[in-house]
Structure formats: structure tokens, C-alpha cells
Symmetry: C2
Subunit: 329 residues, 2 copies
């Protein structure tokens, strides 16, 4: 897959490509989230309404909390004529499970909102300013003249709300709210969805969070807050490790904290460190000093050695970045 | 104040009443939240733009997190010609502090979204389906032909987002998202506001939450979850008791829990119990059995006696309601 070999389509052109096709395989990204699953299911039901053969394929199982979107999972029951990826920024993100690689050698269409999309598909509908791929797919389904049923609205609302932390993250634009309003008018069950997606935590997750909060430490005059979970603690709480992702936003949410750190011990013993920063502090610069990377406000790295070593290594890099002369924005 | 003696106005009529007045006193409710403060400040700046004299009065201090809305606080510098209440459902909610009672004997105008508004004002703009009073005030300010400046947009967004838990609560309607979109287009600083309003917790609040989570108990086969804080714990954590309100949503957020209980010991030693329920379970019915009251999904009561007595009293009422034959909705 060469970078940037893709041809950019607008919403209308993407709708026409889909309308012209049959036997359509929809690909989600690995470690599927609400946006890729919501889009996969919404597109499946839109294509079904057009009496096309379609199914969804993902390298990993669909998480239980998104099961209600009820995607038809691909079991090889047709020969894909068109492969379309939803919310997948690069080929690596397709993953390896469920026989996915045999369908990613040539991806025909891609609908995505990641500004860094590598351009792996033949045709791409990309809007890096969209808060979720679901925002784009909503437009595409409307352009295909398929009715947004309450179920399709639920699927798209799942993508929109999970990718924006229920309209809280900075990615939320005026257009995001407009799309949410349209999905509600189309019958999305927003009350039930918000409870399911944002206000339901497993007992195991509660237990792991309790332990992590008991480990809360302040460093560097309160400018840095740190929580951690050892492997033993993660295993004893029996939490699904995917459920711990949200914990990484906890330390940075404390008043006065500029850098929030979450250390989770991995099965091999190393510590995975999630770095979250307040506006004006570069998380990626911190992670990069220890061989990691990421975005400006959210980055990560992995350190071998015991907890104390991992802590002191990351804290000295945090201190270096916090005490560096402030660059002009 | 007689109940229901008010005359209902529409948005246009309310705008005309305000346009015709000068020396306008804006009243907020006691224990001010983001909606009453946001509306008070937004209306003050709208009236200022019309070169009217106006100021805001509240029985309690404006919480620090809403200080940025910068309401001009009333210091008796003019003789109010018109008194307008924002987000105040009944006269009792004005409170007693700051000389408020001398201005609540006759309230001219009221802009509110509480379906149970007692009709205490001479003229009322009421929409019980609006998610926040800010949603209505936005329409009124537009009808007054005042430009929604970025600051007015910030004030109204504060009301809209805090009253809906950032668009998560069931009160959120399609129109709520439409108003949010318009406020963003008017220049509301949504990223900074969301961080301030939803992702900033004090160290004291973190400590109190840590203690409460260590007290998490499951009862009635996991259908009921309970947390508590004794007076000593509240005082030792030095948390502002107002900051504990949000904790009441914690137990009900656990998978499988139908009734979530939060017990907070009051300065006099009694336990204030907050009852939150899943859909289909009547929180008010539980609280009423112990002399309390509230809404269907959120209610409360207060019990004398020690922690063990309070727990067993409330748990037996929870059990009675959970085990009662299910009424048809």
C-alpha cells in the first residue's frame, strides 16, 4: 500500500460508489471501538435496506457493549466485490485475526476522520475535522437516499457519542451537535444509549479503579499526578484490560495537574505508561524521550524494570519537559 | 404568592417585556448551579448591550467555577423597576441571604424550565421540556435582537451543559443539541468550558471519593450498591460538601445495580440518603417510606441514628420496593 495513492471522494461520490456495488465487505479496525462498530453496523443496515449483500469483518470480537448494534458478521458467505473500511486510518490497524489480511490487500473504499489516514484505499472520503467517522457516514447514508431508521440512528449515535466522550472532547464541533440532533429526530434511543455507553461500569472495573485511586500520588509540587496498577492487582480485580483505558483520564482531571500518568503493568512485567497533559504541555515530547509517541495531549511509552524504576524514569522526563523554557505557541 | 396566578408568555412577549424595562434586577436560585448563574450572567450582558441598568442577585455566593461568567452583582445601586427570575421554580428557592427576600414579594418575570414551576411571577416563560433555562433564554436574547457574543455564548453553554451532564442526561433533546451548535457558532469556548466544568476535580474531592469507593458495598444480590461518608471523613478530606453531589450517581452506574444509595453524615449526625434508581424502579417510592421525597429516578431522605441503623432502615425499604409486584408502566 503506497501512501497517498488514494483518490479523494466527496460524500455524493462515495454514495454513488456504494450504490453501484453489491457483495460488500465492511472492515472495522482491530480493538474495535464504538465508532468503527457503529459505522460498520449502520452501513450494513443501510446496504441491507438497498437489498444488497453485505457483512462486517473485524480482526477482534465485537465488545459486548456494542453487541446491540447487531452487525451481520462475515462468514465467507459471498465473494466480496467491494471492500469498504470504516474509521480505519492505516492498513496496520486492520489487525490479523478472523482472516482479515486476505481482504486488506486491496481496499476499495474508506470512510474516515483521522487526519493522518495513510491513503491505503483506492477511494477515500476523509474529513479530519469530523469528530467521528459516523458523522461522515450519516451524510453518505442520506446521500444514498436510505431512510435513517431508529436502529441506524442508534448505531451512528454510538459512533458519534463514544468518539467525543458524549460531546465533551475538544473534537466536538457545531456540526457534531447538529448530527446528534438529526439522529435524535430519526429516533435514536439516546437515554438508553447514554446509560449503556457512559454510565455502566462492571464491578470488576469498579474494583480496579478503587485500587488505582488508593495508589494516587502527587509529584513535582502537584503538577504531576500518578496512578498505577500492578499485574497482580489487575488480575485479582478480574477487570477486562480494555476497560482500564478510561482510567488514563483520571490523574489529569485533578485541579492544578499539568501531567497525568497512568502506569499499568503488562503480562510480561513491563509498565505501560499513559501520559495525558493539560493544554500547553506536550505529552508526545515526554513519551518520545522514553521511546514512545502519540499525540500532543495523549501519548504513551513502555518501560522495562520494576515500578520504582519506571516511576522515576518517567517522572524525570516529566520534570524536564515541565521545567523547559516555554515555547511560544 | 398564589399558585398558578401567573400569565404565560411566549418568547417574543418575554423579549418585549424586557425591552420595555430598565433598572432590571435578575434573581438566581439559592445554592446556585450552572444554569441559574449562566442565565443570570447571560441576561445581564444582553441587557448591558441594550444600555440598560441591570444586576444579578443571589442568596448564596457564586461558586468559584462559575466566576468566569462575571455577573455584575447587585449592591443596591439602583431601584429595581423590574425583577426577573431565571431558573427558579418556586419562591422558597430564592433563599434568604444577601437581602433577597425584600425583592421576592413581587417578581415580575420568570424564565424557567421546571415543569413544576409554582407560577409565582406575574409573567412566566415556561417550557418544561427544555433541558435548561439557558435554552429558553437563548431564544429570548435572539428575540431581543442582541448579538450572542462569545461571552454570552459561554454563559448560556454553561447552563445548557451543566444541566444536561454535558448532553448525557435524559433531559437532552434534539433542540438542546441545536442550541449547543448555535452557541458554538457564536464563539463559545467549549473546549475550555468542558475541561473546567466536567474534567476538573479538587484534590479534596478526589480524596473524599477515594474513601467513599473504599466503602462500596453490594446488597440484595447485587441489585443495590451503597457508598457512605461519615462526618469525620468528610471533614478530614476537607472537601466542599457541594462537591459531593456528583458522587450520588456512582453506585447506580454499576452493572446490574437497580438502586444506588449514597449516605452522607450531616453536621448534626443524621444521615442524608440519596437514592438513585434504574429505569422501572421508583426512587421516590423508596424515599417516601422514610419521610423523604423527590423524583422517579432521583430522591432522598434523612435518617437519625447511627450508620448501621440508617443502612438497615433504607435497605429494608429498597428490598420492599424491589420485591413488590412490578406495576405496568
Amino acid at each position: 500500500m503506497e501512501h497517498g495513492m488514494t483518490e479523494q471522494l466527496n460524500v455524493q461520490q462515495m454514495a454513488e460508489k456504494l450504490l453501484a456495488a453489491d457483495n460488500i465487505l465492511i472492515l472495522c479496525h482491530k480493538n474495535p471501538d464504538g465508532d468503527t462498530v457503529g459505522c460498520g453496523s449502520a452501513l450494513y443496515y443501510a446496504l441491507l435496506a438497498l437489498e444488497k449483500h453485505a457483512a462486517v469483518l473485524c480482526a477482534d470480537p465485537i465488545p459486548g457493549r456494542y453487541a446491540f448494534t447487531k452487525p451481520r458478521l462475515f462468514k465467507g458467505e459471498f465473494e466480496p466485490q467491494i471492500v469498504v473500511a470504516v474509521d480505519v486510518a492505516s492498513v496496520q490497524l486492520f489487525g490479523e485475526g478472523n482472516g482479515v489480511p486476505q481482504y486488506t490487500r486491496h481496499v476499495d473504499l474508506c470512510i474516515d476522520h483521522h487526519a493522518g489516514n495513510s491513503g491505503y484505499a483506492e477511494f477515500t472520503l476523509l474529513d479530519g475535522s469530523a469528530a467521528a467517522a459516523a458523522e461522515l457516514l450519516y451524510e453518505v447514508i442520506c446521500a444514498m437516499h436510505v431512510e435513517i431508521t431508529p436502529h441506524i440512528a442508534d448505531c451512528l449515535y454510538t459512533g458519534l457519542s463514544t468518539d467525543t466522550g458524549c460531546f465533551k472532547f475538544s473534537s466536538t464541533k457545531a456540526s457534531t451537535h447538529i448530527t446528534a440532533a438529526k439522529l435524535m429526530e430519526a429516533g435514536a434511543h439516546v437515554e438508553e444509549l447514554n446509560t449503556l455507553l457512559f454510565d455502566t461500569k462492571s464491578r470488576e472495573r469498579m474494583e480496579a479503579e478503587r485500587i488505582a485511586r488508593n495508589h494516587l500520588e502527587y509529584h513535582l509540587d502537584g503538577r504531576c499526578a500518578l496512578i498505577y496498577l500492578t499485574r497482580n492487582e489487575i488480575e485479582q480485580s478480574r477487570v477486562d484490560p480494555a476497560d482500564l483505558e478510561e482510567l488514563t483520564s483520571l490523574p489529569i482531571s485533578i485541579e492544578g495537574v499539568k501531567v497525568g500518568l497512568t502506569l499499568r503493568q503488562q503480562p510480561g512485567g513491563s509498565y505501560r505508561i499513559s501520559v495525558r497533559t493539560a493544554k500547553g504541555v506536550d505529552a508526545c515530547a515526554i513519551a518520545r524521550r522514553l521511546g514512545g509517541g502519540g499525540h500532543t495531549r495523549a501519548a504513551g511509552c513502555e518501560l522495562l524494570g520494576n515500578l520504582d524504576n519506571a516511576k522515576s524514569a518517567i517522572l524525570s522526563e516529566v520534570e524536564a519537559v515541565l521545567d523547559a523554557p516555554q515555547e511560544e505557541a
